[in-house]
Symmetry: C2
Subunit: 206 residues, 2 copies
Amino acid sequence: MSDKEKINTEEKILEAAKEVFTEEGKAGTKMQMIADRAGINKSLLHYYYRSKDKLFASVFKFAFGKMASKIFPIFENDDHFLTQLEQFIENYLSFLVKNPFIPMFILSELNKKHNNIAAELIINSDVNIDLFDAIVKKEIQKGTIKKSIKAKNLLINILTLCVFPVIAKPIIVPVVFNNDSDAYNNYMKNRKDEIIEIVFDMIRVE
Amino acid sequence: MSDKEKINTEEKILEAAKEVFTEEGKAGTKMQMIADRAGINKSLLHYYYRSKDKLFASVFKFAFGKMASKIFPIFENDDHFLTQLEQFIENYLSFLVKNPFIPMFILSELNKKHNNIAAELIINSDVNIDLFDAIVKKEIQKGTIKKSIKAKNLLINILTLCVFPVIAKPIIVPVVFNNDSDAYNNYMKNRKDEIIEIVFDMIRVE
DNA sequence: GTCTATAAATTGATAGAC
DNA sequence: GTCTATCAATTTATAGAC
Protein backbone atom coordinates (compact mmCIF):
# COMPACT_ATOMS: atom_id res chain seq x y z
CA MET A 1 0.00 0.00 0.00
CA SER A 2 1.23 3.47 -0.88
CA ASP A 3 2.70 6.08 1.44
CA LYS A 4 -0.13 8.38 0.54
CA GLU A 5 -2.80 6.10 1.95
CA LYS A 6 -0.74 5.50 5.07
CA ILE A 7 -0.68 9.21 5.73
CA ASN A 8 -4.39 9.40 5.12
CA THR A 9 -5.21 6.75 7.70
CA GLU A 10 -2.87 8.25 10.26
CA GLU A 11 -4.42 11.66 9.66
CA LYS A 12 -7.94 10.26 9.79
CA ILE A 13 -7.18 8.77 13.20
CA LEU A 14 -5.72 12.01 14.51
CA GLU A 15 -8.69 14.03 13.28
CA ALA A 16 -11.14 11.62 14.88
CA ALA A 17 -9.10 11.60 18.08
CA LYS A 18 -9.12 15.40 18.21
CA GLU A 19 -12.90 15.41 18.01
CA VAL A 20 -13.59 12.71 20.58
CA PHE A 21 -10.92 13.71 23.11
CA THR A 22 -11.92 17.38 23.09
CA GLU A 23 -15.62 16.53 23.39
CA GLU A 24 -15.42 13.80 26.03
CA GLY A 25 -12.11 14.36 27.82
CA LYS A 26 -9.32 11.82 28.20
CA ALA A 27 -11.06 9.51 30.68
CA GLY A 28 -14.39 9.74 28.86
CA THR A 29 -12.85 8.82 25.53
CA LYS A 30 -12.77 5.15 24.52
CA MET A 31 -10.53 3.88 21.74
CA GLN A 32 -13.56 2.33 20.07
CA MET A 33 -15.21 5.77 19.79
CA ILE A 34 -12.19 7.09 17.92
CA ALA A 35 -12.08 4.08 15.60
CA ASP A 36 -15.80 4.46 14.85
CA ARG A 37 -15.47 8.17 14.17
CA ALA A 38 -12.51 7.53 11.87
CA GLY A 39 -14.32 4.67 10.16
CA ILE A 40 -11.47 2.21 10.71
CA ASN A 41 -10.58 -0.78 12.83
CA LYS A 42 -9.65 -0.29 16.46
CA SER A 43 -6.35 -2.14 16.07
CA LEU A 44 -5.11 0.51 13.69
CA LEU A 45 -5.12 3.05 16.49
CA HIS A 46 -2.44 1.03 18.25
CA TYR A 47 -0.59 0.32 15.03
CA TYR A 48 -0.13 4.06 14.42
CA TYR A 49 -0.05 5.50 17.93
CA ARG A 50 0.99 2.61 20.22
CA SER A 51 -1.24 3.55 23.16
CA LYS A 52 -4.13 5.73 24.28
CA ASP A 53 -1.72 7.90 26.29
CA LYS A 54 0.42 8.60 23.23
CA LEU A 55 -2.62 9.43 21.11
CA PHE A 56 -3.90 11.72 23.84
CA ALA A 57 -0.53 13.43 24.03
CA SER A 58 -0.63 14.12 20.29
CA VAL A 59 -4.11 15.60 20.56
CA PHE A 60 -3.36 17.70 23.65
CA LYS A 61 -0.16 19.01 22.09
CA PHE A 62 -2.08 19.97 18.97
CA ALA A 63 -4.89 21.65 20.94
CA PHE A 64 -2.54 23.64 23.14
CA GLY A 65 -0.39 24.59 20.15
CA LYS A 66 -3.42 25.77 18.21
CA MET A 67 -4.63 27.82 21.16
CA ALA A 68 -1.18 29.34 21.73
CA SER A 69 -0.75 30.10 18.05
CA LYS A 70 -3.96 32.12 18.15
CA ILE A 71 -2.89 34.10 21.19
CA PHE A 72 0.79 34.90 20.96
CA PRO A 73 1.82 35.96 17.45
CA ILE A 74 -0.96 38.47 17.10
CA PHE A 75 1.09 41.40 18.39
CA GLU A 76 3.96 40.83 16.02
CA ASN A 77 3.00 43.39 13.40
CA ASP A 78 3.55 47.14 13.42
CA ASP A 79 -0.02 48.35 13.70
CA HIS A 80 -1.18 50.79 16.33
CA PHE A 81 -1.55 49.03 19.69
CA LEU A 82 -5.27 49.64 19.97
CA THR A 83 -5.76 48.34 16.45
CA GLN A 84 -3.78 45.22 17.29
CA LEU A 85 -5.85 44.74 20.40
CA GLU A 86 -9.08 45.02 18.47
CA GLN A 87 -7.86 42.63 15.77
CA PHE A 88 -6.75 40.15 18.40
CA ILE A 89 -10.05 40.12 20.23
CA GLU A 90 -12.00 39.69 17.00
CA ASN A 91 -9.70 36.96 15.75
CA TYR A 92 -9.54 35.08 19.04
CA LEU A 93 -13.29 35.23 19.67
CA SER A 94 -14.05 33.89 16.22
CA PHE A 95 -11.59 31.06 16.79
CA LEU A 96 -13.27 30.20 20.10
CA VAL A 97 -16.78 30.21 18.65
CA LYS A 98 -15.58 27.89 15.88
CA ASN A 99 -13.71 25.64 18.37
CA PRO A 100 -15.71 25.85 21.58
CA PHE A 101 -14.38 22.58 23.05
CA ILE A 102 -10.65 23.31 22.77
CA PRO A 103 -10.28 25.72 25.73
CA MET A 104 -12.50 23.57 27.97
CA PHE A 105 -10.50 20.47 27.00
CA ILE A 106 -7.16 22.11 27.80
CA LEU A 107 -8.28 23.59 31.11
CA SER A 108 -10.14 20.49 32.21
CA GLU A 109 -7.24 18.10 31.58
CA LEU A 110 -4.75 20.44 33.23
CA ASN A 111 -6.88 20.58 36.37
CA LYS A 112 -6.86 16.79 36.79
CA LYS A 113 -4.38 15.48 39.31
CA HIS A 114 -3.94 12.18 37.48
CA ASN A 115 -2.98 13.76 34.18
CA ASN A 116 0.74 14.44 34.23
CA ILE A 117 0.94 14.13 30.45
CA ALA A 118 -0.92 17.40 29.92
CA ALA A 119 0.93 19.30 32.64
CA GLU A 120 4.33 18.22 31.36
CA LEU A 121 3.53 19.26 27.82
CA ILE A 122 2.80 22.77 29.08
CA ILE A 123 6.00 22.99 31.10
CA ASN A 124 8.07 21.77 28.17
CA SER A 125 6.46 24.21 25.76
CA ASP A 126 8.32 27.44 25.10
CA VAL A 127 5.22 29.61 25.29
CA ASN A 128 5.71 32.78 27.28
CA ILE A 129 4.47 36.36 27.43
CA ASP A 130 7.77 38.19 27.03
CA LEU A 131 6.75 39.77 23.74
CA PHE A 132 3.46 41.08 25.11
CA ASP A 133 5.29 42.33 28.20
CA ALA A 134 7.69 44.32 26.04
CA ILE A 135 4.93 45.79 23.90
CA VAL A 136 2.97 47.00 26.91
CA LYS A 137 6.09 48.54 28.39
CA LYS A 138 6.75 50.38 25.14
CA GLU A 139 3.18 51.68 24.94
CA ILE A 140 3.38 52.97 28.49
CA GLN A 141 6.57 54.85 27.63
CA LYS A 142 4.90 56.28 24.54
CA GLY A 143 2.03 57.38 26.77
CA THR A 144 -0.66 55.65 24.75
CA ILE A 145 -1.91 53.58 27.69
CA LYS A 146 -2.29 54.07 31.42
CA LYS A 147 0.99 53.90 33.38
CA SER A 148 -0.37 51.57 36.05
CA ILE A 149 -1.25 48.81 33.55
CA LYS A 150 0.43 45.48 34.20
CA ALA A 151 0.90 43.35 31.08
CA LYS A 152 0.20 40.06 32.87
CA ASN A 153 -3.05 41.31 34.36
CA LEU A 154 -4.17 42.85 31.09
CA LEU A 155 -3.53 39.67 29.14
CA ILE A 156 -5.38 37.51 31.67
CA ASN A 157 -8.34 39.89 31.63
CA ILE A 158 -8.58 39.90 27.85
CA LEU A 159 -8.41 36.10 27.61
CA THR A 160 -10.87 35.83 30.50
CA LEU A 161 -13.47 37.99 28.80
CA CYS A 162 -13.15 36.03 25.55
CA VAL A 163 -12.99 32.46 26.82
CA PHE A 164 -15.45 32.30 29.68
CA PRO A 165 -18.72 32.99 27.82
CA VAL A 166 -17.78 30.18 25.43
CA ILE A 167 -16.95 27.48 27.98
CA ALA A 168 -19.86 28.52 30.20
CA LYS A 169 -22.38 28.32 27.37
CA PRO A 170 -24.21 25.26 28.80
CA ILE A 171 -24.91 27.18 31.97
CA ILE A 172 -25.46 30.63 30.48
CA VAL A 173 -28.10 29.46 28.00
CA PRO A 174 -30.47 27.93 30.60
CA VAL A 175 -29.77 30.16 33.60
CA VAL A 176 -29.20 33.58 32.02
CA PHE A 177 -31.14 33.32 28.76
CA ASN A 178 -33.97 30.97 29.82
CA ASN A 179 -32.94 28.29 27.27
CA ASP A 180 -33.17 30.79 24.43
CA SER A 181 -30.19 29.82 22.24
CA ASP A 182 -30.86 32.66 19.83
CA ALA A 183 -30.52 35.16 22.67
CA TYR A 184 -27.14 33.61 23.51
CA ASN A 185 -26.00 33.72 19.88
CA ASN A 186 -27.03 37.33 19.66
CA TYR A 187 -25.17 38.04 22.88
CA MET A 188 -22.01 36.45 21.45
CA LYS A 189 -22.40 38.43 18.21
CA ASN A 190 -22.14 41.63 20.23
CA ARG A 191 -19.47 40.28 22.56
CA LYS A 192 -16.52 41.61 20.54
CA ASP A 193 -17.65 45.22 20.83
CA GLU A 194 -18.44 44.78 24.52
CA ILE A 195 -14.99 43.37 25.28
CA ILE A 196 -13.23 46.08 23.30
CA GLU A 197 -15.11 48.75 25.21
CA ILE A 198 -14.20 47.17 28.54
CA VAL A 199 -10.54 46.70 27.63
CA PHE A 200 -10.16 50.18 26.18
CA ASP A 201 -11.64 51.60 29.38
CA MET A 202 -9.06 49.62 31.35
CA ILE A 203 -6.04 51.02 29.58
CA ARG A 204 -7.21 54.55 28.69
CA VAL A 205 -4.95 57.38 29.93
CA GLU A 206 -6.92 59.46 32.41
CA MET B 1 -26.05 -0.64 64.49
CA SER B 2 -27.34 2.76 65.42
CA ASP B 3 -28.84 5.40 63.16
CA LYS B 4 -26.03 7.73 64.05
CA GLU B 5 -23.36 5.49 62.59
CA LYS B 6 -25.45 4.91 59.49
CA ILE B 7 -25.56 8.62 58.88
CA ASN B 8 -21.86 8.88 59.46
CA THR B 9 -20.98 6.30 56.82
CA GLU B 10 -23.37 7.78 54.30
CA GLU B 11 -21.90 11.21 54.95
CA LYS B 12 -18.34 9.89 54.75
CA ILE B 13 -19.09 8.44 51.34
CA LEU B 14 -20.64 11.65 50.07
CA GLU B 15 -17.72 13.74 51.30
CA ALA B 16 -15.22 11.41 49.64
CA ALA B 17 -17.29 11.37 46.46
CA LYS B 18 -17.37 15.18 46.38
CA GLU B 19 -13.60 15.27 46.54
CA VAL B 20 -12.86 12.62 43.94
CA PHE B 21 -15.57 13.58 41.44
CA THR B 22 -14.65 17.27 41.49
CA GLU B 23 -10.94 16.52 41.16
CA GLU B 24 -11.09 13.82 38.50
CA GLY B 25 -14.41 14.31 36.74
CA LYS B 26 -17.15 11.71 36.33
CA ALA B 27 -15.38 9.46 33.82
CA GLY B 28 -12.04 9.76 35.62
CA THR B 29 -13.53 8.77 38.96
CA LYS B 30 -13.51 5.07 39.90
CA MET B 31 -15.71 3.71 42.68
CA GLN B 32 -12.61 2.22 44.32
CA MET B 33 -11.06 5.71 44.61
CA ILE B 34 -14.09 6.94 46.54
CA ALA B 35 -14.10 3.90 48.82
CA ASP B 36 -10.39 4.36 49.56
CA ARG B 37 -10.82 8.06 50.28
CA ALA B 38 -13.74 7.30 52.61
CA GLY B 39 -11.85 4.46 54.26
CA ILE B 40 -14.63 1.95 53.67
CA ASN B 41 -15.48 -1.04 51.52
CA LYS B 42 -16.45 -0.54 47.89
CA SER B 43 -19.71 -2.48 48.32
CA LEU B 44 -20.98 0.14 50.75
CA LEU B 45 -21.05 2.70 47.97
CA HIS B 46 -23.69 0.63 46.22
CA TYR B 47 -25.48 -0.13 49.45
CA TYR B 48 -26.02 3.58 50.10
CA TYR B 49 -26.18 5.06 46.59
CA ARG B 50 -27.17 2.17 44.30
CA SER B 51 -24.99 3.18 41.35
CA LYS B 52 -22.16 5.45 40.24
CA ASP B 53 -24.63 7.57 38.27
CA LYS B 54 -26.78 8.20 41.35
CA LEU B 55 -23.74 9.08 43.45
CA PHE B 56 -22.53 11.42 40.74
CA ALA B 57 -25.95 13.05 40.58
CA SER B 58 -25.84 13.72 44.33
CA VAL B 59 -22.41 15.29 44.04
CA PHE B 60 -23.22 17.39 40.99
CA LYS B 61 -26.44 18.60 42.58
CA PHE B 62 -24.53 19.59 45.69
CA ALA B 63 -21.78 21.35 43.71
CA PHE B 64 -24.19 23.31 41.55
CA GLY B 65 -26.33 24.17 44.53
CA LYS B 66 -23.34 25.41 46.49
CA MET B 67 -22.19 27.51 43.56
CA ALA B 68 -25.67 28.94 43.01
CA SER B 69 -26.11 29.66 46.70
CA LYS B 70 -22.95 31.74 46.63
CA ILE B 71 -24.08 33.72 43.60
CA PHE B 72 -27.76 34.44 43.85
CA PRO B 73 -28.83 35.43 47.37
CA ILE B 74 -26.09 38.02 47.79
CA PHE B 75 -28.21 40.91 46.50
CA GLU B 76 -31.06 40.25 48.88
CA ASN B 77 -30.16 42.79 51.53
CA ASP B 78 -30.79 46.54 51.54
CA ASP B 79 -27.25 47.83 51.29
CA HIS B 80 -26.15 50.32 48.69
CA PHE B 81 -25.75 48.61 45.30
CA LEU B 82 -22.03 49.31 45.02
CA THR B 83 -21.51 47.97 48.54
CA GLN B 84 -23.43 44.83 47.66
CA LEU B 85 -21.35 44.44 44.53
CA GLU B 86 -18.13 44.75 46.47
CA GLN B 87 -19.29 42.31 49.13
CA PHE B 88 -20.37 39.84 46.49
CA ILE B 89 -17.05 39.89 44.65
CA GLU B 90 -15.08 39.46 47.86
CA ASN B 91 -17.32 36.67 49.09
CA TYR B 92 -17.45 34.83 45.78
CA LEU B 93 -13.70 35.08 45.13
CA SER B 94 -12.90 33.72 48.57
CA PHE B 95 -15.31 30.82 47.96
CA LEU B 96 -13.61 30.05 44.63
CA VAL B 97 -10.11 30.13 46.08
CA LYS B 98 -11.23 27.74 48.81
CA ASN B 99 -13.06 25.49 46.31
CA PRO B 100 -11.08 25.79 43.10
CA PHE B 101 -12.33 22.51 41.58
CA ILE B 102 -16.05 23.14 41.88
CA PRO B 103 -16.50 25.58 38.95
CA MET B 104 -14.25 23.51 36.68
CA PHE B 105 -16.16 20.36 37.63
CA ILE B 106 -19.55 21.91 36.85
CA LEU B 107 -18.46 23.45 33.55
CA SER B 108 -16.55 20.40 32.42
CA GLU B 109 -19.39 17.95 33.03
CA LEU B 110 -21.94 20.25 31.41
CA ASN B 111 -19.80 20.46 28.27
CA LYS B 112 -19.74 16.68 27.80
CA LYS B 113 -22.20 15.35 25.26
CA HIS B 114 -22.58 12.03 27.07
CA ASN B 115 -23.55 13.52 30.41
CA ASN B 116 -27.29 14.11 30.38
CA ILE B 117 -27.46 13.77 34.16
CA ALA B 118 -25.68 17.07 34.71
CA ALA B 119 -27.58 18.96 32.01
CA GLU B 120 -30.96 17.78 33.28
CA LEU B 121 -30.16 18.82 36.84
CA ILE B 122 -29.51 22.36 35.59
CA ILE B 123 -32.72 22.51 33.58
CA ASN B 124 -34.78 21.23 36.53
CA SER B 125 -33.20 23.69 38.94
CA ASP B 126 -35.12 26.87 39.62
CA VAL B 127 -32.08 29.12 39.46
CA ASN B 128 -32.65 32.30 37.50
CA ILE B 129 -31.51 35.91 37.40
CA ASP B 130 -34.83 37.66 37.82
CA LEU B 131 -33.84 39.22 41.14
CA PHE B 132 -30.58 40.61 39.79
CA ASP B 133 -32.44 41.86 36.71
CA ALA B 134 -34.89 43.77 38.89
CA ILE B 135 -32.16 45.27 41.06
CA VAL B 136 -30.23 46.56 38.06
CA LYS B 137 -33.39 48.06 36.59
CA LYS B 138 -34.08 49.85 39.87
CA GLU B 139 -30.54 51.21 40.09
CA ILE B 140 -30.77 52.53 36.55
CA GLN B 141 -34.00 54.33 37.45
CA LYS B 142 -32.36 55.77 40.55
CA GLY B 143 -29.53 56.97 38.33
CA THR B 144 -26.79 55.26 40.32
CA ILE B 145 -25.49 53.25 37.36
CA LYS B 146 -25.13 53.79 33.65
CA LYS B 147 -28.39 53.59 31.68
CA SER B 148 -27.00 51.33 28.97
CA ILE B 149 -26.05 48.56 31.44
CA LYS B 150 -27.66 45.20 30.75
CA ALA B 151 -28.09 43.02 33.84
CA LYS B 152 -27.32 39.77 32.01
CA ASN B 153 -24.09 41.10 30.52
CA LEU B 154 -23.00 42.63 33.81
CA LEU B 155 -23.58 39.42 35.71
CA ILE B 156 -21.69 37.32 33.15
CA ASN B 157 -18.78 39.77 33.23
CA ILE B 158 -18.52 39.74 37.01
CA LEU B 159 -18.62 35.94 37.20
CA THR B 160 -16.16 35.75 34.31
CA LEU B 161 -13.61 37.95 36.03
CA CYS B 162 -13.88 35.95 39.25
CA VAL B 163 -13.95 32.40 37.94
CA PHE B 164 -11.49 32.32 35.08
CA PRO B 165 -8.24 33.06 36.95
CA VAL B 166 -9.12 30.20 39.30
CA ILE B 167 -9.89 27.53 36.72
CA ALA B 168 -7.00 28.64 34.51
CA LYS B 169 -4.47 28.47 37.35
CA PRO B 170 -2.58 25.46 35.89
CA ILE B 171 -1.93 27.43 32.72
CA ILE B 172 -1.45 30.88 34.27
CA VAL B 173 1.22 29.74 36.74
CA PRO B 174 3.61 28.28 34.13
CA VAL B 175 2.87 30.54 31.15
CA VAL B 176 2.21 33.92 32.77
CA PHE B 177 4.17 33.67 36.03
CA ASN B 178 7.04 31.38 34.94
CA ASN B 179 6.09 28.67 37.45
CA ASP B 180 6.26 31.13 40.33
CA SER B 181 3.30 30.06 42.50
CA ASP B 182 3.91 32.89 44.96
CA ALA B 183 3.51 35.40 42.15
CA TYR B 184 0.16 33.80 41.28
CA ASN B 185 -0.99 33.84 44.91
CA ASN B 186 -0.04 37.48 45.18
CA TYR B 187 -1.91 38.19 41.96
CA MET B 188 -5.03 36.51 43.38
CA LYS B 189 -4.69 38.46 46.63
CA ASN B 190 -5.02 41.68 44.66
CA ARG B 191 -7.65 40.30 42.32
CA LYS B 192 -10.62 41.54 44.35
CA ASP B 193 -9.56 45.18 44.09
CA GLU B 194 -8.77 44.78 40.41
CA ILE B 195 -12.20 43.31 39.62
CA ILE B 196 -14.00 45.97 41.64
CA GLU B 197 -12.19 48.70 39.75
CA ILE B 198 -13.07 47.13 36.40
CA VAL B 199 -16.72 46.57 37.32
CA PHE B 200 -17.18 50.02 38.82
CA ASP B 201 -15.73 51.51 35.64
CA MET B 202 -18.27 49.50 33.64
CA ILE B 203 -21.31 50.82 35.43
CA ARG B 204 -20.21 54.34 36.36
CA VAL B 205 -22.51 57.12 35.15
CA GLU B 206 -20.59 59.31 32.70
C1' DG C 1 -1.59 -2.00 6.32
C1' DT C 2 -5.76 -3.84 7.78
C1' DC C 3 -8.51 -7.14 9.65
C1' DT C 4 -10.37 -10.93 13.27
C1' DA C 5 -9.77 -13.01 17.47
C1' DT C 6 -8.47 -12.87 21.93
C1' DA C 7 -5.66 -11.90 25.93
C1' DA C 8 -5.23 -9.25 30.20
C1' DA C 9 -6.61 -5.91 33.15
C1' DT C 10 -10.02 -2.82 35.04
C1' DT C 11 -14.34 -1.71 36.85
C1' DG C 12 -19.39 -1.33 38.14
C1' DA C 13 -22.39 -4.09 40.45
C1' DT C 14 -24.36 -8.18 43.11
C1' DA C 15 -24.63 -12.43 46.23
C1' DG C 16 -24.15 -14.11 50.50
C1' DA C 17 -21.71 -14.73 55.10
C1' DC C 18 -21.40 -12.47 59.47
C1' DG D 1 -24.45 -2.48 58.16
C1' DT D 2 -20.22 -4.17 56.63
C1' DC D 3 -17.33 -7.40 54.72
C1' DT D 4 -15.34 -11.11 51.13
C1' DA D 5 -15.85 -13.20 46.94
C1' DT D 6 -17.20 -13.06 42.49
C1' DC D 7 -19.74 -12.01 38.21
C1' DA D 8 -20.40 -9.62 33.94
C1' DA D 9 -19.27 -6.10 31.09
C1' DT D 10 -15.99 -2.96 29.39
C1' DT D 11 -11.69 -1.63 27.62
C1' DT D 12 -6.72 -1.33 26.45
C1' DA D 13 -3.62 -3.81 24.03
C1' DT D 14 -1.52 -7.69 21.34
C1' DA D 15 -1.11 -11.94 18.23
C1' DG D 16 -1.53 -13.61 13.96
C1' DA D 17 -3.93 -14.35 9.38
C1' DC D 18 -4.35 -12.12 4.98
